[in-house]
Amino acid sequence: MLRKLLVAVPLAAAMAGPASAGPSDDPAAVLQALIDSTSSYYLTQSEQNLMMMPDNPALWSLEEGEALFKTPRGPKNVSLEGCDFGKGPGVLEGAYVELPRYFKDTGKVMDLGNRLIHCMKTLQGFPADDPAVKEIHGSKSDHMKLQTYIAAQSNGMPWNPPMDHPLEKAMRDAGEVVFYRRSGPFDFNCAACHGEPGKRVRASVLPYAQDPKEWTKAISWPAFRVGQDNTRSSQHRLRECIWQMRYPPIVAGSDLSIALLSYWTELARGQPAIIPDMKR
């Protein structure tokens, strides 16, 4: 099942990619190659993770996502195969590692979640309050299934968010400001916990934002969160860290969230995506 779905890896990416990008049909192999290339505490703690990856429950999300993607749905009864994720209608290979990006048709920088919502509404005709559009968290949501399927078509490819459009740069740069902006009752910013290598919060080893090899694993979502028994997205991880920071909840899909995701993807540029991943 896994092989069939993930086999499509462009040679170009494999050849042009960094030395750490190994055989890319299997997320575990991508992770293994990363681990072999570094002594990072965050990555080398992943032994258990690696052993469980062949049975990653996110693979079910992926499989269900493929079916959902190809099935004609919504009031207009069309599939999502006509949706443009940035590389042309229906092109999924390598699309996720180039998100967030600017979309001409909306004039906005969008992440995968926002783009899916856009296509569900415009292409399939779903109203904004339909559960398919609105429910974005949890393995049972259409979103997590679709996102896992779509994102997995970039497994093993280097993160390469485009910076050709001025809005893409503006969002990334604002995201950097937000990443370092201290506030809240505890004076936290993201760098409080991700600003130094090899640190822990309690027993949790923290990924260091300035180490692209660590950071690619950190931002490789969707991933199955073992502790939560659910497939989770980038937006969900963001929400959790913001909650720990004692901030008000971030609005998923807001431009603020897209700016943060633009910067965090920039930080992993060139390193291979591991999708679907597993996390604690």
Partner: protein, 223 residues
């Protein structure tokens, strides 16, 4: 930074006058500096749920995103203030500290241990910490190691044998009280929260936490 705010505010005011709702589409992000855009995304483009319930009476969720002077300087310098800025920060922090009257008397190390190990408190939606059900903790263990019985974090230095190594003379206790009350007094732009200065811990709670650090009977000093 200051005039940044004014400019963004002016832009928003102009939009409001024109009767337009200030959504993302109405303003040109590429004409703003990264700082202006960040402030705009937080405060105008509704990046956070400002109507979220908070624990503190009379405060709003939005207040938590408004930076005070210290947060601004530490943000702008990425926690590396110039010597002049650092001197100002530590002076202001020393000024903020309210010491107990008379000598510092250590509290109850057992209560202090519980506080130090509790991460409960001040978190908002989607999993609101209800302070009426349970009092907020002090969060120390997220960043510090105290004793061998439980694994603490490593963002801050290990505090194992803290009292054993330093003794319990008044000047030593006064220094530690000051650090817990407002660590910027000693370490300008530290990542350690201002537990006393921000009203996160009461005087009695700080003295309990200090007992955990200094009491010869505390597990911290029993290794």
């Amino acid at each position: 930074m200051f005039d940044t705010k004014i400019r963004v505010a002016a832009a928003c005011a102009a939009l409001a006058l024109a009767g337009t709702y200030a959504t993302a589409a109405d303003v040109d992000y590429t004409k703003m500096t990264p700082q202006e855009l960040a402030e705009y995304l937080i405060f105008e483009a509704k990046g956070y749920k400002f109507d979220a319930q908070v624990q503190t009476e009379g405060a709003t969720a939005k207040d938590r995103l408004v930076q005070d002077e210290l947060q601004k300087v530490c943000t702008e310098t990425r926690n590396k203030p110039s010597p002049e800025q650092a001197a100002k920060i530590s002076a202001a922090a020393r000024e903020s500290i309210k010491y107990p009257e008379g000598d510092i008397k250590l509290g109850d190390w057992k209560k202090g241990r519980e506080l130090a190990w509790s991460g409960f408190g001040y978190r908002l939606d989607p999993n609101f910490d209800d302070h009426k059900k349970s009092a907020p903790g002090a969060n120390c263990y997220n960043c510090h190691e105290f004793a061998g019985d439980r694994q603490g974090g490593t963002i801050g230095p290990s505090l194992r044998n803290y009292g054993k190594l330093r003794g319990t003379e008044q000047p030593v206790l006064k220094l530690a009280y000051g650090i817990i009350y407002n660590a910027h007094s000693m370490f300008p732009c530290t990542r350690m929260p201002r537990q006393g200065a921000k009203g996160l811990l009461t005087e009695a709670q700080i003295l309990d936490v200090m007992a955990y650090l200094f009491d010869p009977e505390s597990p911290v000093n029993k290794e």
